[in-house]
Symmetry: C2
Subunit: 457 residues, 2 copies
């Protein structure tokens, strides 16, 4: 096999980049292009992104139309739109014609409206793309492609194969063929393998499966992904509200959606707003996305400071309280983060049912009690041994218990409440939860200490 | 279409459960089984899991072999092994024969060794499963199935289709056929569609693609998933170290891996150990998995308390320091969490290259400086206005700046270092990072205050 070892993509991309840069420097543009196109299209896009603007604009006009279409399909949407803007309208239209309709629609959606309109007017297959433009990116309609081969129930297997032979589809095909009736309504699905092994004269009605899972256009991409994962579907047909077949979503798009949604959840739990941020993002973008969250955190931190300031006098009398107040707030935060992660993930994976909510909360409360008692006893006893004051230990233990119990309840409930309000369950959850556990933690600990002050001094 | 609306699975499962429970109570076991088997196999497993032990053991022996095989394939691995233990060896062997070999191997791997050995001895297709037993679950070898149709380069398209017609495969079968030479080495791949539309007399050599992406058995499932996502592959062949084809991984397995790995990252960042924990887990399991992490957090919180205790005397003189110390530690923690999430996610998605590390860190340092200056100025000035002491504001601003800078460096570096040490980048990162930002935050703030004490009183 001529193939390099798998997972060597990075090294391969690096060495190809070297080759391209050397060739460009020596004016051997043809060699640079040959090196680039030798890569798998997915790697080619990664390599192209690494090149500087000069190199990109030298190479781009000299790539042929199919290679340019491959490149735009593999680039991130915004980068693809950037690249598209540097092409002549005529060339851009040719490239868009060559692309998968759903990818072409994504690029058109990110272009300035005039540029998009001019390109559409120039395209040969505009009718494949136009129906896709109306659907938001993050819905089933935005994910689907209109490239599909439809069958009729009365056709034979041989006719279906003949249809397939004459369909102009990308190499990688869908491997399910959908069957529609006279009103274009979806009535069944035929696997390519069943078609191949069927007697050529069998009618499609006999080999199709009438139980088709499908999505309507407006459904959120996360629900689409969850459904395809749940039923192990490699493609999912999309219908309009009247049940007419409009397109199909393939599993590779769903893999991207799952990665994107997981990234979004991770970021949101870490006080970051957008999944399009990465560690490679420019500093200006990074700061723009991260700083607002830090200011929000600042507000909640200052609120917690205000809570403490109400007890300020006590530190002059019992300085040791300043040493341990952070333990109560911090452990509440840690316990809450655990519940939060479980709750957010359960909602994302569709594992939480609203009717089970009380059972879920009851379990978390019990968990919180066990954890609060355990940590409370260990810390309370430890601090008693360290500082020799049993009352300090007792106050710490009680405050830890109370705050860790509040923590699991808040950590579990906030995402559920946000979901019920049709908000993203992960968004702002972490900020809200920390705000609560900090403020409650300080208030309980310092409040108890104030009540029992004579025992501490 | 007889199909209910999509995404109504939950309601469908609920109403079916009602029906099953009512039927069982009335002794109509046949009706209960009919209701259960009416569900899609994926939903059937979800419903079965919800039934109590009595109901499960009433239904299980009365399901036919294919339905039992479907059920075991869809259940979680451990639950499947539990169910398998209640069957007679003979029945279990029949069920395992009916299952996909990779799923059968997973069940066998979770059974007590004697039970597994007895079942294997009784199986007809043990030779399909035995080669899979040696591979750890989380590697390419553990993910692959041995159910595949292989072609020879010299065969014709018609012969290949004939082979396919006689192969006993599950309905949903792979849509790529792999081509091997006399030494069983992988030499190419043929898409089913290309096979169908080719002239029946064409030889496979002419239609196969010799550039096949593949994995070797020992490769981690996360790398497999990343590779299949990167190249949009719907299946990936697995070869041994000598390049001999052993099996194939299908994209539906990879979707599960991606969800599992994302859950694991989210949990680990939230101080939780295992992806098999969910919000529905029994309290005992939940506590067993969560409490050890909380005790680890307790240790780091007590260390931070010890740092503060070195400055204890200062609170008797300047109680206000106790009010604001938490802001410095907390904001450091928040800034670190952002960097940590970006770093962990970039490693998981393979977006971070070791050669770019210095550039990445330089960017994070610059981001940290901008964020530290911004938050420092706002908080410092705000506290000056609130408390009327410019020196307190200045100390806070300086401490915030320093701690937030430390935070982004530590948050970015710890996952990278863990990865370089071949550990999971997410594991313990959050604990380590918080320990650093807490301790450093308190030390810097209280240290500066001690130095500038005369200005504060």
């Amino acid at each position: 096999m001529a193939e390099p070892q798998p997972f060597m993509e990075e090294q391969l991309i690096e060495s190809t980049l070297e080759e391209i840069r050397t060739a460009l420097k020596a004016g051997r543009i043809g060699d640079a292009i040959a090196a680039l196109t030798r890569l798998h299209p997915a790697d080619r896009a990664d390599a192209f992104e690494e090149l500087d603007g000069d190199a990109q604009s030298t190479i781009l006009p000299r790539l042929d139309i199919p290679a340019t279409a491959d490149l735009l399909e593999e680039l991130e949407d915004e980068e693809a739109a950037d690249v598209a803007q540097y092409m002549s309208t005529e060339r851009l239209a040719d490239v868009l014609d060559e692309m998968e309709p759903d990818e072409a629609a994504d690029v058109l959606g990110d272009l300035p409206p005039e540029t998009a309109a001019l390109a559409l007017a120039e395209m040969d297959d505009a009718e494949e793309v136009i129906p896709l433009l109306g659907h938001p990116d993050e819905t089933a309609g935005g994910l689907m492609t209109t490239w599909l081969v439809t069958l009729r129930p009365e056709e034979t297997a041989a006719e279906a194969i003949d249809k397939l032979r004459h369909a102009e589809l990308e190499e990688d095909g869908p491997y399910y063929l959908y069957v529609i009736d006279d009103a274009d309504s979806l009535v069944g699905v035929v696997g390519l393998r069943d078609l191949v092994i069927a007697d050529p004269k069998t009618s499609i009605t006999k080999i199709m499966d009438p139980e088709v899972k499908y999505a309507t256009t407006g459904i959120d991409q996360e629900d689409v992904a969850r459904m395809m994962a749940h039923y192990d579907l490699s493609s999912l047909p999309v219908v309009d509200d009247d049940g007419r077949l409009l397109g199909v979503i393939t599993v590779d798009d769903v893999v991207d959606v799952l990665e994107e949604e997981a990234t979004e959840d991770i970021y949101r739990l870490a006080h970051l707003s957008d999944a399009d941020l990465s560690i490679d993002s420019p500093v200006s973008l990074s700061v723009r996305r991260r700083l607002p969250w830090l200011f929000l955190n600042t507000l909640t931190a200052m609120f917690a400071a205000w809570v403490i300031s109400n007890f300020e006098g006590i530190f002059e009398q019992v300085a040791v309280l300043a040493v341990f107040q952070g333990v109560v707030a911090g452990m509440g935060g840690n316990a809450a983060t655990q519940s939060l992660a479980l709750s957010v993930r359960a909602i994302a994976l569709g594992e939480i049912a609203l009717k089970d909510i009380w059972r879920t909360i009851a379990k978390e409360v019990l968990t919180g009690i066990i954890q609060g008692v355990s940590v409370g006893i260990v810390v309370g006893f430890g601090v008693y041994l360290w500082r020799g004051n049993p009352w300090l230990g007792l106050i710490l233990a009680l405050a830890l218990f109370a705050n860790m119990l509040v923590a699991v309840i808040v950590g579990t409930m906030i995402p559920i409440i946000l979901k019920a309000l049709r908000q993203d369950p992960a968004l702002a959850s972490a900020v809200l939860v920390t705000a609560v556990t900090d403020s409650v933690g300080f208030a309980i600990f310092l409040g108890l200490a104030t009540l029992l002050l004579p025992l501490l001094t």
